[in-house]
Symmetry: C2
Amino acid sequence: MKLKLKNCIILATDENGNFIVYKHEVLCVDNDKISFIGPDSEAPVCDIEKDMKGAVLMPGLVNAHCHGPMTLLRGVGSGLALQEWLETAIFPVEDKLKPIDIEVGEKLAVMEMLASGTTYVSEMYDFPYNSGKILSETGMRANISRVGLSFSEETEIPKGRFDECVELVKNWKDPYDRVRAEFCLHSEYLTNEGFVRRIAEVNKDLKTTVNIHVSETLREHEECKVRHNGLTPIQYLEKCGILDNRTYAAHCVWVEEEDRRIMAAKGASAIHNPSSNCKLASGFAPVKDLMDAKVNVGIGTDGTASNNNLNMFEEMHLAALLIKCVGKDATLGSAEEILKMATVNGAKAMGRDDTGELRVGKKADIIAVSMDKPHMFPAFDIPNILVYSAQASDVIMTMVDGKILYENGEYTTIDAEKVKAEVRESIERIYN
Amino acid sequence: MKLKLKNCIILATDENGNFIVYKHEVLCVDNDKISFIGPDSEAPVCDIEKDMKGAVLMPGLVNAHCHGPMTLLRGVGSGLALQEWLETAIFPVEDKLKPIDIEVGEKLAVMEMLASGTTYVSEMYDFPYNSGKILSETGMRANISRVGLSFSEETEIPKGRFDECVELVKNWKDPYDRVRAEFCLHSEYLTNEGFVRRIAEVNKDLKTTVNIHVSETLREHEECKVRHNGLTPIQYLEKCGILDNRTYAAHCVWVEEEDRRIMAAKGASAIHNPSSNCKLASGFAPVKDLMDAKVNVGIGTDGTASNNNLNMFEEMHLAALLIKCVGKDATLGSAEEILKMATVNGAKAMGRDDTGELRVGKKADIIAVSMDKPHMFPAFDIPNILVYSAQASDVIMTMVDGKILYENGEYTTIDAEKVKAEVRESIERIYN
C-alpha cells in the first residue's frame, strides 16, 4: 500500500545523519518503507493521502531499555532505595507472575508506548515467547531475549537457562523481521564467568546483539572490581569476549574513563535511563563523557516500577536538562543530539540501521506530533520545541513498518478496554 | 451557586495538613469555597451535580515563579549560557514588547496553565496592569507586581520606578480578591541598597509579600558577597529589612547554611525552579537542606524561554527525581512532600492561606486528573501516580474560585483561536 502524508513539517535526516526540517514537502510510504520525501508535485501516485494538519512528522522513539510487563508493578515500592526496593517490593511480586500476566502487562506497555510515540523497544524480562507474541501481534518493533542469569558461585553453567537463551536466539521467527531475538546477560553480578564466556562463544556464530545492565550503582561497580581483580564490569565483559559482538549496556552511571574508551573501541553502546537513575538515586550517568569518548548513547525508560511510566518524551526532556546541569554548561546536549539519542542511536545500539530516521529507504517507523496545543506555540525551532515543550500526549499518530498502530487516542491492533479488564484480573490475583 | 462533584477520588487534607485519599465521597462547592467533603448521603443539596468519572480531584497547582508573557519568547536562545542568553537572546526581544504583547503573551500563558492544572500563579514581568487585567479577566488567581529595578551605582533611588512599585500595591483593586498586588525586587544585583531599604520601609505599613530572585547563579551569589562585605543575597536582604514581611525567593540554588537558617527564622520561602535551573546550568538547588532547615519550599516554572513550558506536573516530577539523585538517597522527597510544594507551600509563600488544599472552607481551586490513560493504570497509590506518572494532559477540569475555567480541552473565559491569531500578530511584529 502506498500512503502520502501531507500538510506536515518533516524532521528528516540527510545522508550525513544531520536533521533537515522540511516545511512544504510531503512524505510517502510504500508498504513498510519511506519511499519519498520532497515536493508534492514530484511525489509518486499513492493509494491514500492523509492530511496531517500541520503536525510534525519525526522518527518513532526508540526505548532502548525497558521491562514492559512491569506495568503490572507500576510505582510499586516508590521511595525505597534500590536494594530494599528490589528485595522487599519487586522480587516478591515478580515471583507470582505467570506467563498470562506477562502477556497482559506487555499489552498495557505497548498501549502506553504507542500512545507516547515509541515504535521500537528493547524488551528485557521473563517469558520472552509471551512478550514476543504480544509485541508481534500488536505491530511493535522490538528486541527480545531470555534473561541470562546464573547464581552458582563457581563457573559451572546452569544448563537449563543457558540453553533457553540460545534456543530463543536460534528459533525465534518473525516473518516481518520486526521482533528480533538477542542475547541478554542480566548483569555481571547475576551471572558467573562461565556463563558469560559461553554466551560470548556461541555468539561468535550467532552474531546477535547483547543486552546487559552495567554499572547502574556504585556498589555493583565496586563489588565487580573486588570480584574480578580490579576489572570494572565493562573491562570484565571485554575480557570475556562479550563486546566482540554489538553490545548495549543499560545505565552506565559509574563507567570510568577506560571503560568509555573500551566501549567506543568495541562499538558498545550506553543506554541512558535518567528517570530510573534519579528515582533510585543511582547517580547521574556521565553522558557528556560518553559522548566525548565517541560512545553511541541511546535512551531508555527502564521498567515502570522505577520510573513510573514509559514516556520517552519525558526521558528526552530529562536527558537534555541533566547533561547541562551535571556538566555545569548550558551549551551541552543540543536538542538535535538528544533527539538522536532517543531515535537513531537507540536503534543502532539495538543492531538496526534500518530505522530511527526519516530518510528514503528506511523503515516507515514514524510518529506525528501535534503543534496545536498552547505549550507548542509559538514554535521557533522544531528540535527545541520537541525536546523541551512537547508532551507524550501531543503524539497523534504512531506508525511502525508503514502500519498505523495508534491514531488520535485509538489503537488499531489493541482492544484497550479488554486489556484494562485483563490487567484488573491479573492485579487481583497477583496482589491478593 | 452550589455544585456537587461526585464519582471521584479526592486528595483532601486533614486539619494537620496531611493528605487523605477519599474514594467513596463527594465534594461540594458553594460559590468560591469548598463547602463539604464526605458521604453523598450527608451532602448538602446542590444546584448542579457533576459526574467526574473516576478522576482524581486535587488542589490546583501553584506556580510560584513565572514570567507569563515570555510565552512570546518560548525557547528563544535555547542552548546558550545564562549571561549570553539574557544579553544576546532575551533582552533585545524584550525591548520590543509593547503593552499589547504583554496582554497577548499572558493570555497564551493562562491557556497553557489552565490546561495543565495551574490555578494560582506568581507573575513577575513588565506592565503589571496589563498582565493583571488578563489574569483577572480569565479568572486566574495571581500575585502581580511592578518589577523593582535600579541601575544607578549609588544609593540614589530612581524615583519613577520606585513610585510605580508602591502605586501598584496601593491602588490595585480586584473585587474578588483573586489577583493581588505585591512588591517585587528583581534581585540584589539589579537593585541598589537605597531602593531595597525604601521598599522595606514602605512595606512596614503596606505589609504585602515580596517576590525576588535570589542566588540563582554562583556568580551572582559570590559577586553579592564582594559588593556587600561578605553578605550573601539573603543576608543582605535581611539587613535591609526586606525579610520582615513575607518574602519568597525564586531559585535559591546557592543559598548557604546561614541563609537557610535566616529564611526559616524570618518565614521567607524558597521557590524551586528545577527545569530552568537545569536548562541554564545554574545548579541543583539544595532542596533537602532547605527542608531540613524548615524553610517553606514552593515550586515554579520560571518563564518559557528557559523551560520551555509552564507545566507544573513536569516540575513536580523533576523535583521528585532531583532531590533523590542529588541527595544520593531514594527515600528523599516523598510524593506527598512534592505535591505540597506544588500546591499549599506555594500558596503560603505567596501570602495566601486560603487555597492550595482541598479542605472545607478553603477556596475552590480544584483540578480533576483523569485516571483513564494507560500510563495511569494500575494506580496503587494516588500521590505517587500523580507525581511520577501523571501528565499535564491528564487534567480534564480546572476550577478557580468555584468557577470552571477549563474542561476537556475547552476554555470558558478564553477564545483560544482568537488568542492564537493575536500571538501570530505580535510575533510577526516583534521578530520582523
